[in-house]
């Protein structure tokens, strides 16, 4: 790549905890290579320097929760060649999408002294509900190696190696005995997309579903099995209402049990 034409990357933040941006900062060694290969033109978390758009790649963290954000994302889309969303907030609405199941005005009146100052939407929605997204990278937070892989793939104009199969595949490749089978611990792994490297089962915990629904998830069958393991309807609702509560397959499953 000729020096003069280093691709420009921007990192944008919407409603989020900044954790996914931190994953990018956490890339230390790799980041040096990133900084050499690309021009990080807009990344307020790391530097105040701002290079004007347009940008070759925009990484977008966070969900849309305010009317202002809903306008701002349109602007980001206009100045970006590729728009890549990173993390559960940007791809599914995040933990703050729990508001989507309730009346947000009630929360506001309880939480804020002067509710009239708060301008918010009644739902937290993923970026793809508002603009065209070129790639969605899952995770809460995203896996830094997957993040590098996606940037890398877009820079080299190839398909990212980001599998959409279950966490179980990663669990088995690393040789972790299944916590559901060997301990009776409920695990969301069979309906959750791989990417984290199956961390929780390696520490004897069930998967929390941080990477959202896998391809063709059979949530109905998994829930039925959880019931056999002794999980009650209420806890099933809560299990599916995590960081990816508003991702459709998880949302439908939690609603099914809520309505019972």
């Amino acid at each position: 790549m000729p020096k003069a034409k280093r691709p420009k990357i921007a990192v944008w933040k919407f409603a989020s905890c900044d954790g996914c941006q931190l994953s990018l900062l956490d890339c230390e060694d790799e980041l040096l290579a990133v900084a050499g290969a690309v021009d990080i033109a807009y990344f307020l978390e790391a530097s105040r320097a701002v290079v004007k758009g347009p940008y070759d790649i925009s990484l977008v963290e966070g969900s849309i929760t305010t009317p202002h954000d809903a306008e701002r994302i349109q602007e980001v889309r206009r100045v970006s060649t590729f728009l890549i969303t990173i993390g559960a907030c940007a791809t599914a609405g995040g933990i703050q999408a729990l508001r989507n199941f309730k009346d947000v005005k009630e929360f506001i009146s309880i939480v804020y002294a002067k509710p009239e100052y708060i301008s918010t939407l009644d739902k937290s929605t993923p970026i793809a509900d508002h603009v065209k997204v070129d790639f969605e990278l899952r995770g809460c937070p995203v896996n830094k190696y997957q993040l590098i892989e996606v940037i890398n793939a877009f820079l080299n104009r190839r398909k990212p190696n980001v599998p959409t199969y279950s966490v179980c595949v990663e669990c088995k490749r690393r040789g972790t005995p299944c916590v559901m089978v060997a301990r009776g611990t409920p695990c969301l792994g069979p309906v959750t997309q791989a990417g984290c490297g199956a961390i929780c089962p390696a520490y004897h915990r069930g998967c929390y579903g941080c990477f959202g629904p896998k391809e063709t998830p059979n949530t109905v069958s998994l829930s039925a099995w959880w019931r056999k393991l002794g999980v009650n309807d209420h806890d099933l609702v809560r299990a599916f209402r995590g960081f990816n509560a508003y991702a459709e397959p998880f949302r439908k499953e939690s609603e099914r049990y809520e309505q019972r």
């Binding site: 790549m1 790799e30 290579a33 990133v34 050499g36 290969a37 590098i148 892989e149 940037i151 890398n152 820079l155 080299n156 190839r158 190696n161 599998p163 959409t164 199969y165 279950s166 179980c168 595949v169 088995k172 490749r173 690393r174 040789g175 972790t176 005995p177 299944c178 916590v179 559901m180 089978v181 060997a182 301990r183 009776g184 695990c187 792994g189 069979p190 309906v191 390696a202 004897h204 391809e215 063709t216 998830p217 059979n218 109905v220 069958s221 998994l222 039925a224 099995w225």
Partner: protein, 377 residues
């Protein structure tokens, strides 16, 4: 090779491990980890699951204490020997950009010389099946072959069967009859604890000379045979294999496939734990600057969408088609493809399916529905 059998005292088992390690083998075998018996390096007899057994059923596995100090008083767990012969993740080659061209970087996929300790009869058959897949015919897998050629196999005859075992149905056990260097039968009789040892190869005979062993008496051999015969009576599962290929080919549109698809999570666990499943994918990765590239091979599964992806989409998009593909390959089309069944009856896919889907049960449902409809005719 003589038919002579030997006795090794339980207290001398460490000497067998020592003899193998002195010969340069890395000894790997069963050990307790994370609530299960897995395969890993074992340097000392203390690393073995002494006094443990496993209780298995569909979707359920629990370790239990035995009331003796048996070294091999359990059956197979979530791991199989394929993790050593056909590793889950393997770098195939790397390349570096060199001006307008590129150079291939030498990839030293050196593997240790493994001695497998405690290979069960069904597992020997599984290794033989993978031998056919990887080293028979026009295309040889050099990685598998290099590992396989160096392996020393200490088999263990099962004297107790597990809750999901069906090797008797598949004619793959419980007695090891082929492909071992040494085969042991563990006998615990009151205060007595010893192994009856059968020698399968010259390599095995050499090792036995380095271990305190005395000739076995006909009585010892008879006790061993009786215990193995007892295990054969205890199979937790049964599969009627009569005309199984045609049975399945006749029933590709059977409603049972729709029924199992409502339960199947298409999570791929069954294929990962199966000792004969061999499918892989390759991922090509580049570094950020685009100057280095690497090709990595990983275990893959017919339960993923990507597996059957061709231009325009996945051929097997439904869970039904994926489960049917898996089961019919194991039990029917494998026979056409490789001349053997693809299933050795180890029961892993039953135990380690998170929702207890049972290959023997699925076949039974299809077979019985045919019998019912025949009767009705």
């Amino acid at each position: 090779m003589s038919d002579e059998q030997f006795i090794i005292e339980g207290t001398d088992f460490q000497k067998l491990l020592d003899a193998l390690r002195q010969q340069g083998y890395t000894t790997v075998g069963p050990t307790v980890r994370d609530g299960a018996i897995v395969y890993d390096e074992i340097a000392s007899v203390k690393d073995l699951p002494i006094g443990w057994t496993d209780e298995q059923d569909g979707g359920r596995y629990r370790l239990q204490k035995r009331n003796d100090q048996a070294l091999f008083g359990y059956v197979v767990g979530p791991h199989s020997w394929k993790k050593f012969l056909h590793p889950p993740v393997l770098s195939l080659w790397k390349a570096r950009k060199n001006g307008k061209s590129f150079e291939i970087l030498p990839n030293r996929n050196d593997s240790p010389r493994y001695a497998f300790i405690g290979v069960r009869s069904c597992e020997l058959h599984a290794i033989f099946i993978q031998d056919r897949v990887f080293t028979n015919g026009k295309f040889i897998d050099p990685h598998y072959q290099a590992r396989r050629q160096k392996v020393f196999i200490v088999a263990v005859n099962c004297v107790q069967a597990g809750g999901t075992c069906f090797c008797v149905s598949m004619k793959t056990g419980p007695k090891a009859t082929l492909g071992f260097d040494l085969a042991l039968t563990e006998i615990i009789d009151g205060q007595k604890h010893y192994f009856v040892v059968e020698v399968g190869t010259e390599k095995g005979a050499e090792i036995i000379q380095r271990v305190p062993a005395k000739p076995a008496q006909p009585n010892d051999i008879q006790i061993a045979e009786e215990r193995i015969a007892r295990a054969a009576q205890q199979m937790g599962r049964h599969l009627d294999t009569t005309d199984i290929k045609n049975l399945l080919y006749r029933n590709l549109e059977h409603p049972r496939w729709d029924e199992v698809a409502t339960r199947c999570l298409n999570c791929a666990n069954c294929t990962m734990v199966c000792p004969t499943c061999f499918c892989t994918t390759v991922e090509d990765v580049t570094d950020l600057t685009g100057t280095e590239a690497e090709r990595v091979r990983k275990w893959d599964s017919c339960f993923t969408m990507d597996f059957s992806y061709i231009h325009g989409g996945s051929v097997r998009a439904s869970a039904k088609s994926r489960y049917r593909q898996w089961l019919t390959h194991k039990l029917a089309s494998w026979i056409d493809q490789f001349g053997t069944s693809g299933c050795v009856g180890c029961g892993r896919c039953i135990t380690w399916c998170p929702v207890a889907i049972d290959i023997t049960e699925e076949v039974r449902a299809i077979r019985e529905s045919e019998q019912v409809s025949k009767k009705g005719e």
